[in-house]
């Protein structure tokens, strides 16, 4: 009857409505309402982001979301970036590709982070998804440039190829020449990760025919002279990564380069600048007017060089530098970049014991005074004080990401010789929006008491060489209501601490503990009590069998994984 029909909302309409929902949280809520809403949501879902590839299986995913076009997958625990995870640990993307090819052949986008990717997988991808458009590989490993050849050759609709910070075996630059002559759809090309020389003519032709190219990040083999030619061909670029920024230039060549940059009115992001020769840096000044992101983390600059450059970048929001700029360079940041929101200071040479350089609390302070909008910081330094941090967070109370790495493990406040507890206490008390925190320096359980008590929005916590007893970790697990990821290394937390989080872990994405005092029995107990968690112990060869050297705990609906290597003990 009409009246009945008008009461029920046609599914198709619901799906169309839900198609406009973009936020995963909203979608999640919507799917819980009732079965028909669940179905409408899942059928209209086009993008899905899996933060832990083992938390769900490919089959479950494709069954639930048959119409997805874009997938983002994260694999290994973050500490694999620092060589703490065996290379054969897992997170192989292949099974996912097979499932997608079977059920979601219209897949267009794939973003992988810390996954194991082989050339075979890349080839399989290139052949299986005719509409494939976007490939982004960050911190992955296992593939070579041969795999990229397949992508370039067969992905006719490719718009994005973004290869970043991967452990890729760079066999040759010939992959770039594999883009067919009629291929014009590229919008994003980032191969700064690779080192082999690419055929410049092929690159030139590619840039010339891809009129929609917005992002171009070349590798070191592309010289300044060549860069200038590319800029002339692509003045519409929004993001530019240069190659090697040094060459002996004549004045005429310099003028040409400067003019090329001058024509690039749309550049918002600049990176690369490898081996930057100071005298050529001014060439980029004309393009800096609209710059919002400047990545100098591979260009060791001095303080005055940085000052000169930053004077031309009044709209800078994000800045990555090396600590070669020193505190003085950071003062320049504070004075030149009032709109700065994110600062990352990387150590140029952290392993040299004999040479002390880098940045101190002074630099950070200077930035905090000059940049009140600062909310994201990653700071590697040699020394810090509680007082400085307290002042910094007073100046910038809106921190969402506060990652402080005092490079000498367990180092106290260098002025008072006290632990750095009060520093992080100040951070969590003042920065109510804090989502991510990395602590360092000498810390007792008090720091963790502060964190557990005050860090209401904290989602990710990284701890190293800190704490005095199980109590510290317990405080965090019993506080921090939004805690999602907890990574701990080299702390005196044992089984009691591990087990105190029994009820917490299912609401968290994952827990990592390495070089702590956890035993295999403790882990086993956890695994037994919490069947919906995967508890994995990674054994170091030389250690004693009862110690759990590395523990990785994560929630999953996929059950224990079946692809763990021999070094991983799944409990």
């Amino acid at each position: 009857m009409e009246s009945t029909r008008s009461l029920s909302f046609p599914d198709k309409v619901r799906e169309r409505v839900f198609a406009h929902l973009t936020s995963p949280e909203d979608r999640s809520s919507v799917s819980l309402v009732c079965k028909s809403w669940y179905d409408a949501e899942r059928l209209s879902r086009t993008r899905v982001s899996i933060r832990n590839c083992y938390s769900v299986s490919p089959e479950i995913l494709v069954r639930r979301f048959p119409n997805i076009r874009g997938v983002s997958l994260k694999g290994k625990p973050r500490f694999s970036d620092f060589n703490l995870v065996p290379s054969d640990w897992g997170a192989d993307v292949h099974a996912w590709l097979v499932a997608f090819a079977d059920r979601c052949p219209l897949l267009e986008e794939l973003s992988l982070k810390r996954m194991a990717v082989s050339d075979e997988s890349l080839e399989f991808l290139a052949f299986s998804f005719p509409n494939f458009k976007v490939l982004s590989l960050l911190s992955c490993d296992g593939f070579t440039t041969d795999g990229l050849e397949a992508i370039a050759t067969f992905c006719k609709n490719l718009t994005e190829l973004d290869i970043q910070e991967n452990g890729v075996e760079d066999r040759s630059g010939s992959w770039l020449s594999c883009f067919p002559e009629r291929f014009t759809s590229l919008e994003v090309l980032n191969f700064s990760n690779l080192t082999s020389e690419v055929d410049f003519d092929a690159l030139e032709r590619l840039v010339s025919r891809c009129k929609s190219l917005k992002v171009l990040k070349v590798n070191r083999s592309v010289s300044l002279e060549q860069l200038q030619k590319l800029l002339v061909l692509a003045p519409q670029l929004v993001e530019l990564g240069t190659g090697s920024f040094s060459l002996e230039f004549s004045a005429h060549q310099f003028a040409e380069l400067e003019s090329a940059f001058n024509n690039c009115k749309n550049i918002q992001s600049l990176s690369g600048l490898l081996d930057a020769t100071v005298r050529y840096l001014p060439a980029i000044y004309p393009a800096c007017a609209n710059l919002t992101f400047l990545n100098l983390s591979y260009a060791a600059m001095q303080s005055d060089e940085l000052d000169n450059l930053l004077m031309h970048c009044p709209h800078l929001q994000r800045l990555w530098v090396l600590d070669t700029v020193g505190d003085k360079g950071l003062e320049a940041v504070g004075s030149n970049c009032p709109l700065l929101e994110e600062l990352r200071v990387f150590p140029a040479d952290p392993f040299d014991e004999e040479i002390i350089q880098g940045v101190t609390e002074e630099g950070f302070l200077a930035v905090s005074f000059g940049c009140p909008r600062l909310h994201y910081v990653l700071y590697f330094c040699q020394q810090m004080t509680n007082a400085a941090v307290a002042t910094i967070v007073q100046n910038c109370p809106d921190f969402t990401h506060f990652r402080l790495c005092i490079m000498n493990p367990g180092q106290p406040d260098y002025l008072t010789n006290e632990p750095m507890d009060e520093a992080f206490g100040a951070v969590v008390k003042t920065c109510t929006k804090l989502q991510r925190l990395s602590v360092s320096g000498l810390l007792t359980d008090l720091a963790f008491e502060y964190i557990g008590k005050h860090a209401k929005n904290l989602e990710v916590l990284s701890v190293a060489f800190a704490g005095s007893s199980d109590w510290g970790m317990q405080c965090v697990l019993e506080g921090c209501p939004k805690l999602s990821k907890l990574e701990i290394r080299d702390c005196p937390f044992g089984d009691a601490a591990l087990l105190s989080g029994l009820e917490k872990y299912e609401s968290m994405r994952s827990l990592w503990m390495s070089a702590c005092n956890v035993t295999v029995d403790g882990c086993r107990l956890l695994a037994t009590k919490m069947p919906r968690l995967n508890v994995e112990v990674i054994k170091d060869d030389e250690s004693d069998d009862s110690q759990a050297d590395k523990v990785y705990v994560y929630r999953t609906v996929a059950g224990p994984r079946r692809d763990s290597p021999p070094s991983v003990l799944a409990l």
Partner: protein, 358 residues
Amino acid sequence: MSMPVEHDYIGFSLEVPSMENSGLNLKATELRLGLPGSESPERESSDDNNNKKKKGSAVVLSLKSLAGSGAKRGYSVAIDRKWVYSGNSGDGSDAVVPAAGLFSPTGAANNNGSKCVSGSDSGLCGPVLKEGGASQSPKPVVVAQEQKPHTHGSGPSKTQVVGWPPIRSFRKNTMSSHSAKNDDDSEAKLGLGCLYVKVSMDGAPYLRKVDLKTYGSYMELSSALEKMFTCFTLGKCGSDNVPSRDGSSESRLMDLIHGSEYVLTYEDKDGDWMLVGDVPWETTILWKGITKILQKEDRKQLTLLGFVYELTSPTRQSHQIAILLLMFTNSCKRLRIMKSSEAIGLAPRAMEKCRNRN
């Protein structure tokens, strides 16, 4: 004052250094810093044992050691060794780079080391590593690899902890591979040079490091060394010495170094101790000129050094200059301030070598 050395160092007094032992009695703390070609010696002095041990175990920045060992800055496939920082696998990539970037604003060249070292390392590391180089060089920090990472608290030294500081392997490898391959990419090597060498002084309890690249002449080098080692000499010169740069002999630094009892020597790649000054030091080199003019072989050597001078206008003899510069820098593995008395017989050899190379 006379000395059985006959030549004439550029920038140094024409007078030969004194051979007298002026009575500096450093017997108590006298350290023989090792015969040429020997391993980096253990520090025997009682004070600062720890520091010295650290220094001793740290990789000798001299080119020779870099050549021989997996340079401190080298990174091998870290994963295999579970090591943060391991020897270079020999792809010639090693430390970073940017030349100018390496000094702290306060400028004491010897205090900024960081990457520079690597800069030269990396160049060397590549091919030379495979040759097994001078086995004389001390083992790099890599030795510490055997230790497992500590659990907290004791604040293990940076180099002994896997995965600390938490920098992505990719970034570490990139920073260390800035001077990358030994093949033709001259641009990659530009601007990357630092040439750190260890400087030891007889009688001094510890060594220093200098970046040869920061000096424009032997004079400047000597004065810098003088400043560094002033504290170890008794009475001869105060800290208010301002070495004159015009090559005149009035400078007290020269008195110190050459006038009274110390001479500046360097150890070359053959392991011989040579007197500094034989090879002319030129600061005006046209880099591009070098890369064009030099034969591939020489270029490779220059690359190996990772050594670059800023350019000024080319001189007519840039080619020659370049070669000579190469010779000195190529040769210089370590600088040593020796007592004049021990420097007998060095100079003639240096002259000979110089002649041979020319």
